[in-house]
């Protein structure tokens, strides 16, 4: 199967998954208790106003008409209006994307920068102190709830040592880079860096631990294969074999897991944003849940699902270029 055909098939599957998410969310909203018009207007609204809003929002239509309306809206990028603030949901989602994206990328960078060298060292020095250290670290990392880790980091670095700020995001990365380029002042960038350090560590630790484990076990498997002995016998230096051949082969399964773990990353972002009061999508989702603001909640979740499946299609594409055998299926 050619790459193009493979991608078309994967994209169709992805579209199906997003449709599933949209439908499930709509179904949940339909069975959820509470009258939407009352939720929108508050307890004090008169019966007349409620009736008018019901008609306006199409709430008196049969359920399948409401469903078709909703799906039709989504297709043209209309996610409806927030019940709480009466603003367009798509605007409320979009304005929160940069904060979450910054956090997710920073956490992934933290994870990769620490985990891959750690995993390689651990695999090549098996049963030495460095390996034990890395194993202990990764065990702790996958076993620690990230909200608690966040609080402990706040306590240690924020309260006791006073090195890092303990919450909020006074400036975005894009604005910070803009001030650097336009005015030559690095102050904003520094502020950004200070504020994102603890959240990124909090969100990144689980992944650092997971990738360390994956890299280690993958490398151990690869290092035992005959081609490693063969290339070493041919006289290639150990370092070259390790990084050029072995690590490359180890990265393939790691990539897949990373793609699948994007869901965990998003869930982790919700928690991390709550701990650090980081104004991203996760914090907005919690607010929407607390207020039972269904259109906003649906909008955020559908957006997360789209992001998740898109990333996974990309991962699959990358995967097939790293491992040509995938296309032969």
């Amino acid at each position: 199967m050619s790459i193009a055909k493979f991608l078309v098939r994967r994209t169709l599957q992805a579209v199906f998954v997003v449709w599933g998410v949209v439908t499930i969310m709509f179904g949940l909203r339909a069975v959820s208790p509470g009258d939407p018009a009352t939720l929108m207007l508050g307890e004090g609204a008169t019966a007349e106003t409620i009736a008018r809003v019901r008609a306006q929002e199409g709430l008196d239509e049969p359920i399948y008409v409401q469903y078709l309306d909703y799906v039709q809206g989504l297709l043209i990028g209309d996610f409806g209006y927030s019940w709480r603030s009466n603003r367009e949901v798509e605007a409320m989602v979009i304005e929160r994307i940069p904060a979450t994206l910054e956090l997710a990328i920073a956490a992934t960078v933290v994870a990769l920068v620490i985990a891959i060298p750690l995993g390689v060292v651990s695999a090549t020095r098996r049963n030495e102190p460095a390996d034990y250290g890395a194993t202990l670290f990764s065990l702790l990392g996958i076993s620690t709830p990230n909200f608690w880790l966040g609080l402990m980091l706040i306590l240690l670095f924020g309260v006791w040592l006073g090195i890092f700020p303990t919450g909020r995001r006074p400036v975005g990365l894009v604005e910070a880079i803009w001030t650097l380029v336009a005015f030559g002042s690095a102050g904003d960038l520094l502020t950004w860096l200070q504020h994102i350090t603890l959240p990124a560590l909090t969100l990144g630790t689980y992944f650092t631990a997971l990738i360390t484990r994956l890299t280690r076990s993958g490398m151990v498997d690869e290092l035992g294969k005959p081609y490693v002995t063969a290339t070493r016998a041919k006289g290639l230096p150990a370092v070259l074999v390790r990084y050029k051949h072995v690590l490359r082969n180890t990265m393939i399964p790691i990539l897949t897991v990373l793609g699948l773990q994007m869901g965990t990353l998003m869930g982790g972002a919700v928690i991390t944003e709550t701990v650090f009061n980081w104004p991203g999508l996760g914090l907005r989702l919690i607010d929407a849940l607390d207020a039972r603001d269904w259109p906003l909640m649906q909008g955020i979740i559908v957006f997360i699902a789209v992001a998740f499946v898109t990333i996974n299609v990309f991962v699959d594409a990358l995967y097939s270029s790293l491992d040509p055998r995938v296309n032969d299926e």
Binding site: Q13, L139, I142, F147, L151, V159, L260, G267, V270
Partner: protein, 333 residues
């Protein structure tokens, strides 16, 4: 089912390495702590109002701290050394931190194990049937699985709890009803929706693993042989396919217990659990007073970490002994 080879493998890896032993000791201790919580607790964990004379929460015994005491009718700030009946101090509503720590183990373990069991009971049969018959049933299952996995577990759980409420289930405490522990709560609230939601979130992983096993087993000679004798599909599934899929399912179950314990803690932290007697909830409660009373958040976190480490160590032991091919990719949710 579990062959002699597997048991001897388990025994050998247990003997040879230290980590499974640590995991076993930890988990047994935590289970004992949870079971005998009413006997181990020093105070009713739900009772509020244990404050010092100055109306402040007690710090752990031996800590030096400042409080206000009335001396000759005048309020004075004094340095005192904490010396109360509260070994680990009290929280901001004056509850005994140690007793709540002991009781918190119950919620984590109950939710972790019962949700995993439920998910297994739902996911394994569906996966086996899908993999064994293949075709449309299988396609449908895989698409459902993809959809479920596109939801971040935590987000799906939050959405479901938003719909169904928290519905705590009050379970009578056997030790208290036997009259062995006076003054302890007679029943403890289990977060009902959280347990079911957790099972709903992870059953897909069980279905996927069971499907994979059934898919590869259905072409095995012995399965074909059994079918040629006229054995019904149902008997082939229960008698041959299921027993041979047990090992990877057990390994997966252990990983999922750890995942669920963390999920429950997160939900409780966000305030969506339905019980206040949970480690996650206690961490949230301590967050506002982190600067002045850090012990309130710190201790329950250590409880979660130790429990999850114990489960993970046993999971690694099972995986190494039973199925070296199962990888980290199934650390789902």
């Amino acid at each position: 089912m579990i062959s002699d080879r597997i048991t001897s493998n388990l025994r050998r890896t247990f003997r040879e390495s230290l980590l499974p032993k640590i995991g076993m000791v930890l988990l047994v201790s935590i289970v004992l702590m949870a079971v005998f919580a009413p006997l181990l607790a020093t105070h009713d964990p739900t009772r509020t109002g244990y404050y010092d004379e100055g109306g402040n929460a007690y710090p752990p015994i031996g800590t030096e701290y400042t409080t206000q005491i009335a001396v000759d009718g005048e309020i004075q700030e004094v340095e005192v050394t904490a010396d109360s009946a509260h070994v680990l101090g009290t929280n901001n509503v004056g509850q005994d931190v140690y007793s709540r720590f002991v009781y918190g183990a119950r919620i984590s373990l109950l939710v972790g194990f019962s949700a995993t069991l439920m998910a297994m009971l739902v996911g394994v049969p569906i996966g086996l049937i899908a993999g064994y018959y293949g075709g449309r049933v299988d396609d449908a299952l895989m698409r459902v699985a993809d959809t479920m996995l596109a939801f971040p577990a935590l987000v799906l759980a939050l959405a479901l709890i938003g719909v169904f409420g928290e519905s705590p289930v009050y379970v009578p405490d056997p030790i208290v009803s036997l009259g062995l522990a006076d003054g302890m709560p007679e029943s403890i609230p289990i977060p009902g929706t959280v347990t079911i939601v957790a099972a709903l979130v992870i059953w897909v992983w069980f279905a996927r693993v069971a499907r994979g096993e059934a898919l590869s087993l259905r072409n095995e000679e012995y399965v074909k042989a059994a079918k040629s004798f006229g054995t019904t599909d149902r008997d082939v599934l229960i008698g041959h396919v299921l027993p041979n899929s047990v090992t990877p399912i057990i390994v997966l179950a252990t990983i999922q217990v750890a995942v669920i314990i963390l999920l429950e803690a997160s939900l409780a932290y966000l305030g969506f659990s339905g019980t206040t007697l949970s480690w996650g909830y206690e961490i949230e409660r301590g967050q506002d007073i982190l600067r002045t009373r850090p012990w309130v958040s710190t201790l329950p976190g250590i409880g979660i970490v130790l429990t999850v480490i114990a489960v993970n160590l046993l999971g690694d032991w099972f995986r190494d002994a039973l199925d070296p091919n199962l990888d980290e990719g199934q650390r789902g949710a």
